[in-house]
């Protein structure tokens, strides 16, 4: 295999691995821009992964699976909203609670319904989102350089991959070009200004957490219905938290978020590719070290290598009308 092929393959898996991070990161962006911190991304993703795979295998439809995943994830998002918007509870505690509930209930329900040790049955091809071949991909496959880039890297992904990357410019457009986006950004900075302008702070924030729920659902569905053919317990493996780190790294901006997630995805891909392969000079690197790389990077980046990341000013603070 030529060096070029290796690069293409690594980049290809970079894309596949960064998709769930990217979706979760954008999900967090909607919520946090509105002033609601959400460490429950992980739990919502996990619940959606389970619900999606379970529903897909029962109803034999990927689309029904996705629909149920969205339903479950949005419900959890609304629970977080109810606790932190309506009842002004602590957003970290509420988010953590959702993570615990999701981790426990997916295993129990999975075992109760399918008796496969917390797994869902393996999904048949029509129960998953299959790879799509873009027009002309086969035709130019043999063209040097452009051929592999187009047919391997750009074409041949699941629909959800394209959804994830299209969500980036779409989110940018919503945030900076629409009325909803203006209000969303405003409510995360100074909810009192939004309130006195005659806009409901609570309703605006609820809409934001619903957006979060939909996107975490797609992230979860991608994990169980695209990346693997079914749900495995704890399959999110901390991706929700890495997405949060990427969000801070990206300074709460959608295009930055994409690059941050691609970087994390690339490290993951690199770790997989380099497993067991001896590196020049260093020699053989333990697998565990390579696997730990993305997490080490997270710590280093958050420890201050990204310059000043200013979160939305009203983030984490419940809005109380001044008395």
């Amino acid at each position: 295999m030529s060096f070029f092929d290796v690069i293409i393959q690594t980049l290809d898996s970079t894309i596949r691995l960064s998709v769930p991070l990217l979706l979760a990161c954008l999900a967090g962006l909607y919520s946090e821009r509105s002033g609601i911190f959400d460490i429950g991304l992980e739990g919502k993703m996990l619940a959606a992964a389970f619900a999606g795979a379970a529903a897909a295998s029962v109803f034999h439809s990927a689309w029904i699976g996705l629909g149920i995943a969205i339903l479950v994830s949005v419900s959890l998002a609304l629970v977080h909203g109810f606790a932190s918007i309506t009842h002004r509870g602590n957003q970290i505690v509420s988010g953590l609670a959702i993570n615990f509930v999701a981790a426990g209930s997916t295993i129990i329900l999975g075992q109760a319904w399918f008796q496969q040790g917390g797994r869902t049955p393996a999904l048949a091809p029509n129960e998953r989102f299959e790879a799509i071949t873009l027009p002309g991909a086969d035709a130019i496959r043999e063209v040097p350089i452009i051929g592999p880039i187009y047919s391997e890297l750009i074409s041949g992904h699941s629909l959800l991959v394209y959804v994830a990357f299209l969500a980036v410019p779409f989110t940018w457009w919503v945030l900076f070009r629409t009325r909803f986006g203006l209000r969303l950004r405003a409510v995360g900075e100074n909810p009192a200004a939004v309130d006195t302008a005659g806009i409901s702070v609570a309703w605006l924030r609820y809409r934001a957490v619903i957006c979060t729920g939909v996107l975490t659902a797609i992230a979860g569905a991608y994990l169980s219905m695209v990346q693997s053919g079914g749900f495995v317990k704890d399959m999110t493996a901390g991706k929700g938290y890495i997405a949060l780190a990427a969000l801070i790294f990206a300074k709460w901006r959608p295009v930055n978020a994409m690059f941050a997630c691609l970087l994390f995805g690339f490290l993951d891909a690199l770790a997989i590719r380099l497993q067991g392969a001896p590196l020049p000079i260093i020699g053989k690197v333990p697998v565990q070290l390579m696997q730990a790389l993305p997490y080490i990077l997270t710590v280093i980046l958050l420890a201050g290598f990204i310059g000043k990341a200013i979160p939305p000013r009203a983030g984490g603070v419940p809005y109380v009308k001044e008395r």
Binding site: R177, F180, R185, I199
Partner: protein, 510 residues
């Protein structure tokens, strides 16, 4: 013409057991500037919040332009032509001026057309009212005066005919306040009705046509401004006669207690805020430092009280040096007899979540009087707190109450009681009456004079020129970090004002 823009009839509002507004009647004539005065907690802000739809009255009726109107939300208020400029600006700091103006008043779901429309509308408003501001500037980069202008533009953009301003001059320099008043007069000429809420009586006299006085949730009087006096208004506000001028005898200045030489202080950005300042404060005198906020007074206070490191210079207390360039320890300075009433009582002077008795010993909590072995002597602390409450008339007289639940004036009295009762040789006071009501101001001023007459050295920093003039025996004026002049208490307001604006800087430096 003399038609009422707003009529409030029998408005009442309670928060739990607190009756914030009781049977309020008020009529505001269209095309006039109407002032509403009252002490903190008199119910002014509640009343205006009801008018702006933030709260709903428990009973009563609001009529706008003669028509009974129900205002259930800010949206309703905006729709009936009422706009409000809040005391704390309701602006999104990292948005542009235009974005702030259209927020909540966007013409459709996409921003492009909203912004274009707002831009041309803004140009028209600027032309009509002389309210110039760069539409693309970021709010946090604008000075406070301009931010306030954006708030006014926001209200006008929404078609406000009636403009409510809540304590608009609290954050402004004298020049900015004058400019605001010019704008308000111009708005009045254009037929707008303006309601001005303030506790500064001078402003009421300067700009309003009529004035209403509130006290303890009731409307006690409405007067034509021309036919009333500051003294009458103050008496109506407090409910008893108030001494606005402080009565004091001659100062008998003794030996130098505090001596500052060539002090240089930089802020966290590295900008020189105090530039080569020298002065002495003697026993038995009050030295006042006047100046527009932000000219280095805060940094000077912080450096002398040991909160902020100085770059160079020397300070001596009772002839012994204070190590300012190292880490001067406020606790150690307190033991040496230098007490400090900080400018910002909420963040520096008090822990608002603590009970009153805890705050009344804070900073002196290692004093043997308050200790029983390694533990706090709760009985002694309580007795001490009760004693201070009685002496300083702190209300409510409950040492177990959370400090946040006291009014601004009473919080300030807690800080003053704590510092003064330690019998310090030198007292440094920053903004002693900021956000404090008239009755408490009188009390605080008398206390400071009493300190002086006991032979203590008092250094007073205040942005209220009246306060500086009535209390100080000597006045130093700071401008751009330097002391640009020293005057006696007889100096006129105009003379000091020029110094504060840096106009006579050259002459004074010579």
């Amino acid at each position: 013409m003399a038609e009422a823009a707003i009529e409030l009839i029998g408005i009442s509002k309670s928060f739990g057991a607190v009756r914030a507004n009781r049977d309020i009647n008020l009529e505001i004539t269209r095309g006039t500037i109407h002032g509403i005065v009252g002490e903190n907690g008199a119910g002014k802000s509640t009343l205006m919040s009801i008018l702006y739809g933030f709260y709903q009255a428990d009973s009563g009726e609001i009529r706008v332009n003669g028509k009974p109107t129900s205002i259930k939300s800010s949206n309703d208020a905006i729709a009936t032509g009422i706009g409000m400029v809040h005391q704390h600006f309701m602006l999104v700091d990292n948005f542009t001026v235009l974005e702030n103006i259209i927020l909540g008043a966007e013409s459709d779901a996409l921003l492009k057309s909203s912004i274009a429309k707002a831009r041309s509308e803004l140009e028209r408003l600027e032309r009509e009212y002389g309210l110039e501001v760069d539409p693309d500037a970021i709010i946090e980069e604008l000075p406070v005066g301009l931010q306030q202008r954006v708030e006014i533009l926001k209200a006008l953009y929404r078609g406000a005919e009636i403009l409510i301003l809540d304590e608009p001059t609290g954050v402004l320099t004298p020049a900015e306040a004058d400019h605001l008043f010019r704008i308000l007069r111009q708005l009045k000429e254009q037929g707008k009705t303006i309601v001005l809420i303030t506790h500064k009586l001078r402003e009421i006299m300067a700009i309003t046509d009529s004035v209403s006085v509130m006290r303890q949730g009731t409307m006690v009087a409405t007067r034509e401004t021309k036919q009333t006096t500051v003294e009458e208004l103050a008496e109506l506000m407090v409910g008893r006669r108030v001494l606005l001028r402080v009565e004091k005898g001659e100062a008998r200045a003794g030996e130098v207690k505090l001596s500052v030489k060539n002090l240089v202080v930089k802020d966290q950005r590295g900008v020189t805020m105090v530039d080569d300042v020298s002065f002495d404060v003697r026993a038995g005198e009050i030295v006042g430092i006047a100046g527009v906020a932000g000219n280095g007074q805060s940094e000077l206070l912080e450096a002398i009280s040991g909160i902020r490191k100085a770059v160079s210079g020397s300070v001596t207390l009772d002839g012994k040096p204070i190590d300012l360039t190292g880490a001067a320890d406020p606790g150690e300075l307190r033991q040496r007899g230098l007490a400090h009433v900080p400018e910002d009582r909420h963040h520096v002077g008090l822990v608002l979540a603590f009970e009153e008795n805890e705050n009344s010993i804070l900073g002196y909590h290692n004093d043997k009087r308050y200790l029983k072995g390694p533990l706090l002597d709760v009985d002694a602390i309580m007795a001490d707190a009760k004693d201070k409450i009685a002496k300083y008339d702190i209300r409510p007289a409950n040492p177990r109450l959370r400090t946040a639940n006291f009014s601004g004036g009473n919080q300030q009295k807690i800080v003053l009681a704590r510092e003064i009762e330690q019998d310090p040789g030198v007292l440094i006071v920053g903004q002693p009456t900021r956000g404090v009501d008239v009755g408490a101001i009188e009390f605080i001023h008398k206390r400071l004079i009493a300190m002086r007459d006991q032979g203590k050295a008092v250094l007073l920093v205040s942005v209220e020129l009246d306060e500086i003039r009535s209390l100080s025996d000597r006045i130093l004026v700071m401008f751009a970090g330097r002391v640009v002049g020293e005057r006696g208490p007889e100096a006129s307001e105009g003379e000091l004002g020029l110094l504060m604006a840096g106009v006579e800087q050259k002459e004074a430096a010579e």
